[in-house]
Symmetry: C2
Subunit: 374 residues, 2 copies
């Protein structure tokens, strides 16, 4: 699964393109920075492994203090367990007898918890746990922002589902998942804070009603790279799920901070390496990294160090850029770094990371769970 054409020890300039680069030092600084925030705020950190799909990076996060990882799919969870991660939260609903059997089987190899938002699904999970003779912690997923997404309504509906879990023979009600997905990418800091407040009120209300119903709620997990500083500063969340902070991307950098600056808590550690393969004009270039080398869901990538470069479009293997009114700064055949619009689905396009330090390929890390979406 690793790139047969990359080799540890060669200089970055010798690497073929397109390839996925991770700056090891920047990654490690990001990992340390978030770990320090969690420690300072007395909250656990369980980074989302859907960002990197790599047990090597997960173990680096755990070595720095994380309690384990979140996974979004059973396949990701299996790869993480195989890669030595011992504590996994499947932060998602899982349907289907086959997949639930895989969850229960995995609970024999690692500590596995899962989310639910439906009583029938809880019954299916209970049956699977029974089949494998395992106890599984279940978090009730609550929809804290109100848009169309997973999760039961906060308050009474969450309490009813928690009671249903607590009645199950093989399942334990462990707490709540309260992920304000929409809030992560709200650009305006006041609007983002307001969205987060709404979520916090829903969590607080639900926690209180659970207490009234006699249900303990020791675990409240959620948050992300866009709101970790707001969620981590409350007494609500016991655990933060941020993922993108390890790499960063253009989309998160578009968030505005209260001081009017763009979000900059973490360094850019992820790049796509690409070659200039055609120069249609003095100011324009075609690069060899297109729709199969980037996810475009959050917009096109940016040319590193050349903020004025404008994206003109692209094909499956072409990216067309222009620097209006100026010569394009890179010659035909030159290799350049690009910053992805959205890190998670871009990573999922590659079989491996070229892990770079001082312009040399120091390691090749498989994206071991690439494509493990089922």
């Amino acid at each position: 699964m690793t790139n047969p054409r990359a080799r540890v020890g060669i200089s970055l300039a010798e690497a073929e393109t397109p390839s996925l680069l991770v700056d090891i030092d920047a990654l490690d600084r990001n990992v340390a920075r978030m770990a320090r925030f969690a420690a300072d705020h007395d909250v656990k950190l369980r980074p989302h492994a859907k960002t990197h799909r790599s047990p090597i990076i997960a173990r680096r996060q755990i070595a720095a203090g994380a309690v384990g990882v979140c996974c979004q799919t059973v396949g990701e969870a299996e790869v993480m367990a195989q890669g030595g991660v011992g504590d996994i939260l499947i932060s998602n609903e899982i349907w289907g007898a086959n997949k639930l059997a895989r969850v229960a089987a995995l609970a024999r190899q690692a500590k596995v918890a899962i989310c639910a938002d439906d009583a029938r699904n809880v019954a299916d999970l209970d049956r699977a746990a029974n089949d494998f003779g395992v106890r599984i912690d279940v978090l009730v997923d609550i929809n804290v922002v109100g848009d169309v997404r997973t999760g039961v309504h906060p308050g009474e509906p969450a309490v009813r589902l928690a009671e249903r879990v607590a009645e199950s023979k093989w399942l334990s009600f462990a707490g709540l998942q309260a992920y304000a997905g929409k809030a992560q990418h709200v650009r305006d800091p006041d609007e983002r804070a307001a969205a987060v407040r709404t979520a916090h009120e829903a969590v607080a209300k639900t926690r209180q009603l659970l207490g009234t119903a006699g249900l303990d709620c020791p675990w409240i997990t959620g948050s992300g790279t866009g709101t970790y500083m707001l969620d981590g500063a409350t007494d609500l969340y016991t655990e933060l799920q941020a993922g993108s902070y390890v790499f960063m991307d253009l989309d998160y950098r578009r968030n505005l901070e209260a001081d009017g600056k763009f979000y900059n808590d973490f360094e850019q550690a992820l790049f796509v390496y690409s070659t200039v393969m055609s120069r249609p004009s003095e100011s324009a270039a075609v690069l060899d990294a297109g729709l199969k080398s980037f996810s475009f869901d959050s917009g096109p990538p940016a040319l590193d160090g050349v903020p004025e470069a404008r994206w003109l479009g692209g094909g499956d293997e072409h990216l067309r850029l222009e620097v209006p009114g100026r010569p394009f700064p890179h010659a035909l055949g030159a290799k350049v770094k690009l910053v992805p619009g959205h890190c998670d689905p871009t990573v999922n396009l590659y079989d491996c990371y070229l892990a770079v330090r001082d312009d040399r390929i120091e390691a090749i890390w498989p994206v071991a769970a690439r494509g493990a979406s089922s």
Copy 2:
């Protein structure tokens, strides 16, 4: 590289999700239809393998009459040759000594031709061919639509580069590549025809100037699924490169025909299979196929058979849909088919196709060149 959880012989309903489905019968009808068009119009067909990245599908196209395939990357070409395809055009510029060595090495295993738009690149290719003692056919890539893309200007610049190729010891000038990429997706039929006419004039002029310069031009390749009927009806193109026709996607279906109907020359043969995993409201659903299961560059996927379903957004593993004012037609846990917005980069997300006939998995075809973008 195949999906360890799929199994030949099971019913489609037993397949895990998300997975990539190909309807074998629809695929074969599409393959036959394009082959018939090419035969009827006395033009060769060299389908683009970047669409499917599968030698199995390529060999089906060749068995139906195609002369070989186009590839966009060296990695794709290597996989096609390994998979038994004997005639490959790399319809792209390739930079870098390593990659050009791979091209030359491949020319020992299969008939390989390549495109160029720069004299320095031609010199590099000549050197690589010399190193491996192979003769390589080179097509001069001309930019026939004028936007920022690969290719030299038609006319004199193309003739000068063709002369440079013809002077090379190990290279043969074989003709022109004239791909009107932009024209493929022009919605209005009159505007599309006008864009194609501009391209045809550029081709005709360049061919004439080549003749005046004493250069034979036996091979003119280009076209695509959106304009094959216009390009194939001229005496200019000797070969059509269409690729998407094997699968089709939503984007090509947005093209309007002269009769006012949407483009419908080929059947939808490609789907993503997905499970309803949450039902936030009566009219809405969350499905388990998100940004890592579809390429969103040409818009979101559509729910097969439910044209009124509206896309509300999605996450890495979630797709949020609503049928406004009506109950969502599929229950929790149900498996449904989705039609991708853009077929090529969506295919590139999967390790294999589940090849389906009569709602049964009849074969599992690896996407053998998945990720082979370098």
